[in-house]
């Protein structure tokens, strides 16, 4: 094994794979992917439903099929990878990054890399984060764990199911468990809107007559050894249960689908600054973190719902990592800060160096609540440069807007770019 590489990629999910392929195609040579699982593909291996890649491949693929398209490219390009290898530490000294990993064959070992791409993905918020009182009986699973059981290990977590939280994995598992013969009694969502995609509400719940109760939450879990039932209550606008609305529902399984958080322990250890809104690294136009030569993409950067965007973003991170490893990037002269206003929660990137943009810069963002018939406005300093009408903007769906370099260059004193949601007619 090569102990010195140009680009080391942490994680072999769709983000890591696309970053590796793009880095190789833009001329980088010594690339290594480290993946802790026994196969490449990341979370896509358990996402057996269709709907992946329609925009990248003009074909509607399932998760494993989408992953194979990239795995083939990695194999074809001869990009080396190590499986069942966990990265446990990353540090940076001067221009060199030291990545420490562990596997059965080599024990603990360290690899020196010019550039590192963080592509560790995300994990699910756990029940601990939810504050449901009571015992911890068997039968409570995160929706992702249940997905792995059913789709990869071929076993069912239970027969009568209540899903708390309407994230996509929860919606998809409501359908999946129904198809496998379980009775899914309801999906309860604390917020007045669903956290999942509309298409999943249609094809996973409505198709099977599974009720979605918005502004409802589980306030009690019955059962000591195994879940026997849950008490669901309506929540008021402050998300507090309304007395008198309690309803007991018998079930043997409670699935939690309460959102995902980027997996950034390694990044924090390395000294990368995180954005408190996304829980992912703060990045610039090159998707480079606050530590020079360390890039981030995919769910470790911010939680995505469209894998096509993950691949696109990762491709850009891979190209920038290759440019960094090659050396001779244009100097950072003209730095612009991205700001959010009127309901935009965050932007990725949050810093742009105009010289380092190729032709255009993709800015991805999410909004904080449901907006109807609004304008998405982009300001360069105080001047409106883009104004798009939007029929609906949903917190569950990532938006993106493209900014052209030529437009930016028309503002020689450009300091801030503001992305805002505005109501006005």
């Amino acid at each position: 094994m090569d102990k010195r590489v140009d680009i080391l990629i942490v994680g072999g999910g769709p983000a890591g794979l696309a970053a590796a392929v793009a880095a190789k195609k833009s001329g980088a040579d010594r690339i290594l992917i480290l993946e802790r699982d026994e196969e490449l593909g990341g979370i896509l291996n358990q996402c057996i439903h269709n709907g992946f890649g329609l925009h990248t491949f003009k074909e509607e693929l399932t998760g494993p099929e989408y992953a194979s398209r990239y795995i083939w490219q990695v194999e074809e390009l001869g990009i080396p990878y190590l499986l069942q290898t966990i990265v446990i530490d990353i540090s940076a000294s001067e221009a060199v990054k030291l990545v420490t990993a562990i596997n059965k064959e080599n024990g603990i070992f360290t690899i020196e890399a010019k550039a590192v791409v963080l592509a560790m993905g995300c994990r699910e918020r756990s029940r601990g984060a939810l504050n449901i009182p009571g015992y911890r009986p068997a039968g409570i699973y995160s929706a992702g764990t249940a997905q792995r059981y059913v789709n990869m290990e071929g076993r069912m977590p239970g027969k009568e199911v209540v899903v708390l939280g309407s994230g996509d994995i929860g919606l998809i598992m409501a359908r999946r468990m129904t198809l496998e013969g379980a009775k899914v009694k309801m999906v309860a969502e604390l917020m007045p809107y669903s956290g999942g995609l509309k298409r999943n509400i249609v094809q996973c719940l409505e198709d099977y007559g599974i009720p979605l109760k918005l502004s409802h939450t589980v306030i009690d879990i019955d059962g000591r050894e195994r879940v026997k039932g849950v008490t669901v209550a309506e929540a008021d606008e402050n998300r507090k249960p309304i007395p008198g609305t309690e309803e007991y529902i018998s079930c043997d399984t409670l699935l939690l689908s309460c959102g995902l958080i980027p997996e950034n322990e390694l990044s924090v250890g390395l000294g990368v600054s995180l954005n408190p809104v996304t829980a992912g690294p703060v990045v610039n136009e090159s998707l480079e973190t606050s530590v020079e030569g360390v890039f981030a993409c995919g769910n470790v950067l911010h939680v995505h719902d469209l894998v096509d965007y993950v691949s696109e973003e990762a491709c850009s991170a891979g190209e920038h990592a290759a440019a960094y490893a090659r050396g001779g990037r244009p100097a950072e002269e003209h730095k612009v800060t991205l700001k959010c206003a009127g309901g935009v929660r965050y932007t990725v990137p949050s810093l742009i160096c105009v010289e380092r943009i190729d032709k255009e810069q993709v800015v991805r963002f999410r909004v904080g609540s449901v907006y109807k018939d609004v304008f998405l406005t982009v300001y360069y300093n105080n001047t409106v440069v883009i104004k798009q009408k939007k029929r609906v903007l949903l917190p569950g769906e990532m938006e993106q807007i493209k900014l052209k370099k030529v437009e930016m260059e028309k503002f020689p004193d450009l300091k801030t770019i503001t992305v805002a949601i505005e109501r006005e007619g």
Partner: protein, 122 residues
């Protein structure tokens, strides 16, 4: 030509989930608006006449490192055939090696559509 009926649908063909408005005219033609690509128009037409779905599930595998292999219907099948399709797949078991895209069941539930593997199993 008088508009008869206006319906709002959400395109389920990809995660963008365009909101599609379909206006049915008296002469039976449909006017589809709001879709961002051609798929959306096809979907809206089908959803109002004969709704279909792609089915994804797993089939048991004997003697491989994982006990199941993911599969899908090669294209969409009538929505009311979904459960029958699932039932037919519960009754079978396959043995490795399985190639990606290999036919697992031909003409599932008499739909004329094949079930194919979505992952290779060594």
């Amino acid at each position: 030509m008088a508009s008869m009926d206006k319906k709002e649908l959400i395109c389920i063909c990809c995660p963008i989930g365009c909101v599609i408005t379909v206006t049915s005219h008296e002469d039976g033609t449909l006017d589809v608006k709001g879709n961002s690509c051609k798929r959306g128009e096809e979907y809206a037409n089908k959803e109002l006449t004969a709704p279909t779905r792609i089915v994804t599930t797993t089939v048991r595998v004997r003697g491989a490192s994982r006990p199941v292999v993911p599969v899908k219907t090669k294209c969409d099948i009538p929505k009311d055939k979904v459960m029958e399709c699932i039932k037919a797949l519960k009754e079978i078991e396959v043995t490795p090696p399985i190639r990606l895209g290999e036919t697992i069941v031909a003409n599932v539930a008499d739909t004329g559509v094949d079930i194919v593997a979505t992952k290779a199993v060594e």
